[in-house]
Structure formats: structure tokens, C-alpha cells
């Protein structure tokens, strides 16, 4: 269902109460790739942080995928990732350039699709 729908509790209470440490400057987007920094101890994290770190133990995921797996809206997971990246728990890799892919990337997409 793609049409908007009303829902009272978009964010669970534990999450709203977690008082996320959110940096001023947020460079996290839907397709930012997220992974766990080496030697991270997740014991000191709030529950949503622990869920996210556990989810990422098997390897990198985009922010959008993290949100879907955690069952939280994108806007919430974006802040969660930004906070954990600022504290050094998570590492991120940039989303596509704002001006879109260049010709070289386009060729990779074309040859990849044709080879499938």
C-alpha cells in the first residue's frame, strides 16, 4: 500500500526515550552504506544502537535497509546512524554524488545489466 496512512506510534517509546546524541551536521542519506567499526563493544549502547550493531555484524547495509530490518522509519534510523558514526561506533561510506552518476558509472550499469 503506497498511500499515506495514519499511525499513532511511528517510533516505539524506548526509542523516543533514548535521547539520541545527534551531531549538528548530518551526512547520512538513504543509500549511505553503514558498517561497524573494528573492535566495537556494543554493551554501552542504548537498545536501538545494540539492535543496529547486531544487524551490521554480518556486514555493511544501506541506511534504508537498516530501517526496514529494524522496523523503524528512515528518519529515525538516519539520526541513529549519524549519532553512532559521530561516536566512532559505525563507519559510513558516502551515498551517490548529488549530481548523479558519471558516464563511467553508467557504462558499468549497462554492461552489468546486459550480462545478467
Amino acid at each position: 500500500m503506497t498511500s499515506g496512512r495514519q499511525r499513532r506510534r511511528v517510533v516505539p517509546d524506548f526509542m523516543a526515550a533514548a535521547k539520541l546524541a545527534v551531531p549538528e551536521q548530518i551526512n547520512v542519506e538513504r543509500t549511505t552504506l553503514v558498517y561497524v567499526a573494528p573492535e566495537v563493544v556494543s554493551d554501552a549502547l542504548d537498545p536501538p544502537g545494540v539492535h543496529l550493531v547486531n544487524l551490521l555484524k554480518e556486514g555493511p547495509l544501506s541506511v534504508y535497509e537498516c530501517a526496514a530490518h529494524l522496523g523503524l522509519p528512515y528518519c529515525v534510523v538516519r539520526l541513529l546512524v549519524a549519532g553512532l558514526a559521530a561516536s566512532g561506533t559505525l563507519l559510513t561510506r558516502d551515498p551517490p554524488r548529488a549530481e548523479g552518476p558519471d558516464l563511467e558509472i553508467l557504462e558499468l550499469v549497462l554492461s552489468g545489466l546486459r550480462a545478467l
Binding site: 496512512r5 552504506l33 553508467l106
Partner: protein, 192 residues
Amino acid sequence: MASALSESRISVDHIPVKLIIAGPFGVGKTTMVSALSEIKPLNTEEVLTQAGTLVDDLTGVNEKTTTTTAIDFGRLTLPGVVLYLFGAPGQTRFQVLWEELARGALGVLVLADTRRIDDSFAVLDLVENAGIRYAVAVNHFPDSPDYPDEALRQALDLDPRTPLLVCDARDPASARASLIALVEHIKELMVS
């Protein structure tokens, strides 16, 4: 969730590429994202205010004045690149969401249904307002009327260069062929 978690992860050195599959309700967006995706398609929620702006902090997220919309999300890894596929809704009240999705995106495949051509007008407006390149693919249903290309182009007010394709959103080969046509079109626009 357990099976989704064990699905292969992305390598950090694959270049991310965003692609949007758009269209009115019931046109086949979820179907096409599923046909193309290497992972079980996911659903991520976007939170908007009633006024249509995106909520980007936690203040007020749980309030009655917000509304959510689910976006289909799929992934397709190719040598050197990873395609992120967004199945996005086509109502004009999602303008702000569209502007964000469009940022950095390669292009949009607009799905149309010839039984309800008018339903595609809003999507085309959104795509054109977002200034993003696109192709149109008619998702063919058994009871779809067959119109001549020229009539469809005129009804949709398409530029003569904009690709107009017919596809079967359920068929991965057909879905891929539509993406290839879109990317070839964008390449032509870039080199010309």
C-alpha cells in the same frame, strides 16, 4: 527476518547507484522491484507531516499530524556497482519526498497502465519537477487496451526522445530490458 539477515551483504567498494521505479497505485511497482531485486524486497517507512514536508528529527514523529508512506526497496549488485531500487508513490503530495529521492539518482522508470492513463499524470509532474531523467514503461495487463504509440505519447505529453516501452513487471528479463532502455537513454542525453 533471519533469512533476510543471512542474505549476502554489500561490498564497500561497490559504487552505489540509485534508481527509482514510480507510478500510481496498483501499476506494478512492488512487482517490478521484486523481479529485479537480489534480496527479498523491503519496505521502509517515510514520515511526512500533513503539509507534505519530511520529518527529520524525532520531535513530533509520533504525533497525529504525521503520516507515513512505505517505499519498496530492492538491491541489485553488478560488477563494480550496486543498484538501489526505490519503488516510489506517485501522488503530488509526495513532492518533497521526491526531491530527496531524486537527489543523486540515475533516473526514473515511470510505470503506466493503459487502463488508467490519467493516473500517470501526477507521477510525470513529480518526475519533471524533480528534474530527473526518465523513461516510460507500460506495464501490460490482460485487459489493457492497446493504443498506438503516438496516441500514448500525446496523452502523456512525452518528449519525442523519451523512451516509451512495454514491459511485464513480473518478468525479470523484461524488467531488466526496461532498465537498460532507461540507462541507454540517459547515456545518450549525457554524450549529446
